[in-house]
């Protein structure tokens, strides 16, 4: 029985075969990137690349799938190792900073790019590359109390300057909701070629009382 038995029952065998062989590059291995990579790998994606130059910090442990002994190590490397140990998926980890100068080299051969970087300079480099080569690119991002999942055609980079900050409010539930929405947008694109854009707020987590 496959690890992805339940997913296959839901998605169908044909869709699962597409997901398995679809190469995706995830730009960023932070709250969104690491969880998206894990979610995609555990959903059956087998050709994943993760680019991130950052190292794991203690404050990352609340929203990112890393462990205390991992603090100080490269995010991309640990993510790849964890997923290989967990389910045998070989994630290609690149521990380099993506810049306009090396975007072509790092993103070459990509069929789909997921941009989840935490700064506008790198996001702009990814957007420009995807636009120039007409490669599908999904941008996912978070603000204080909302998240966005937007395809390149409609995406606007938040700032023209470097807005890389480390102290910001971040709710784990919003992270996980945005991750799920982004992954579903990716699957929709691969399965039925539909480009779905989303805006997500904490209110989308509202639980309605069930009156019987």
């Amino acid at each position: 029985m496959s690890i992805f038995f339940h997913e296959q029952l839901y998605r169908t065998k044909a869709v699962m075969a597409k997901l398995k062989n679809y190469p995706i590059i995830i730009c960023g291995a932070g709250a969104l990137g690491a969880n998206i990579a894990e979610n995609l790998a555990r959903s059956g994606f087998d050709k994943l690349t993760v680019i991130d130059r950052d190292r794991i910090e203690e404050r990352n442990l609340s929203t990112q799938p890393y462990y205390r002994p991992d603090v100080g190590a490269f995010k991309a490397k640990i993510l790849a190792n964890n997923l290989y140990r967990a389910i045998g998926t070989k994630v290609d980890a690149k521990t380099k900073e993506l810049t306009p100068a090396n975007a072509t080299q790092l993103l070459k051969d990509s069929q789909l790019i997921v941009d989840v970087f935490d700064n506008s300079v790198a996001r702009q480099a990814v957007k420009d590359y995807a636009q120039q080569l007409s490669i599908p690119c999904l941008h996912a991002g978070l603000s204080t109390d909302y998240g966005e999942v937007i395809w390149n055609e409609f995406y606007r980079v938040p700032s023209e300057v470097n807005d890389d900050v480390c102290d910001y409010p971040l709710a784990r539930n919003l992270v996980m909701l945005t991750v799920a929405v982004a992954c579903e947008a990716i699957v929709s694109f691969i399965a039925i070629a539909e480009l779905r854009n989303f805006s997500i707020t904490q209110k989308d987590l509202t639980v309605q009382s069930l009156f019987l």
Partner: protein
């Protein structure tokens, strides 16, 4: 009889093959790497010589191999899968990424490898004292594979906490403790300041006297017993001979009608203060 020219020719082919072959090998700091090409074993000094870790090597000549790149996890796992898996618990760091470790289960270890002893484990990248790890044994050396996620992390915390409190192995006791854990604890604490036998002895004697309300002045080792100089709460000094095994009185210093052995150091304090005998 084998044709010598044919053999020489075979060796020449193997050597030519060696220079075009990259190989994966573990390497300890200052150590050498080994590979087998066409049935022949080659041992190389790595370049850079300080390299430590899992590397992809390329032979430069018969004696030297350069590090092409660091091996990634899937490559390492594939290599390690050829060897027996054993579970050990880390005792302490020996040097670099080499640690001393002890089997988690002596019986299991004996059945698998016919040996039960502390082992040096190489390339331990996630080393924490007392952590349970999975190791691969190739018949000569043991190589770290990963932290054993199945183990109870509370054991590690309990042991680390015991070290901080300078608890001696003889006093160590907690739910889930095994003889193997005790051995690891002894291995780990043997090198730590505060765990030397003399310091432990002093702690043991001081504690026994304190419980009786007295204080230790000094003590001397006399092979199977100590002569202990101690002072009661009212300031009277005494010297007693105390057995090392269970702190029973060998000789109290006063007449106990030959019943010295009925008392231990703690109860002796009360006897001396009251002079009931």
């Amino acid at each position: 009889m084998a044709n010598i020219f044919k053999l020489i020719n075979q060796i020449a082919i193997a050597e030519a093959q060696l220079h075009t072959t990259q190989f994966l090998a573990p390497c300890v700091k200052g150590g050498r790497v080994r590979t087998r090409v066409a049935g022949m074993s080659y041992t190389f000094t790595p370049k850079p010589s300080k390299f430590e870790g899992w590397g992809i090597f390329q032979a430069v000549d018969e004696k030297t191999a350069t590090v092409v790149e660091e091996a990634d996890l899937p490559q390492i796992v594939e290599y390690l899968q050829h060897f027996s898996q054993i579970r050990l618990r880390l005792a302490h760091q020996l040097r670099g990424q080499t640690w001393l470790a002890y089997p988690v289960n002596e019986v299991d270890m004996h059945q698998r490898l016919k040996i039960v002893k502390p082992l040096a484990v190489h390339l331990v990248t996630e080393g924490v004292t007392f952590e349970q790890i999975i190791v691969r044994w190739n018949g000569h050396s043991s190589w770290f594979e990963e932290i054993d996620r199945r183990t109870d992390p509370v054991i590690v915390e309990t042991l680390q906490s015991a070290v901080k409190q300078l608890i001696h192995a003889e006093e160590l006791q907690f739910k889930g403790m095994t003889p193997e854990i005790l051995t690891v604890y002894e291995l780990a604490t043997r090198r730590i300041e505060g765990f030397t036998q003399s310091q432990q002895d002093e702690k043991r004697l001081r504690k026994a006297l304190q419980m009786g309300g007295a204080t230790l002045t000094q003590f001397h080792d006399r092979s199977d017993y100590w002569t202990v100089d101690w002072t009661t709460a009212d300031g009277v000094r005494h010297s007693s001979a105390i057995a090392k095994t269970d702190l029973t009185v060998v000789s109290s210093g006063i007449c106990l009608s030959g019943r010295d052995r009925d008392f231990d150091l703690q109860s002796l304090v009360g006897v001396m203060e009251k002079q009931e005998w």
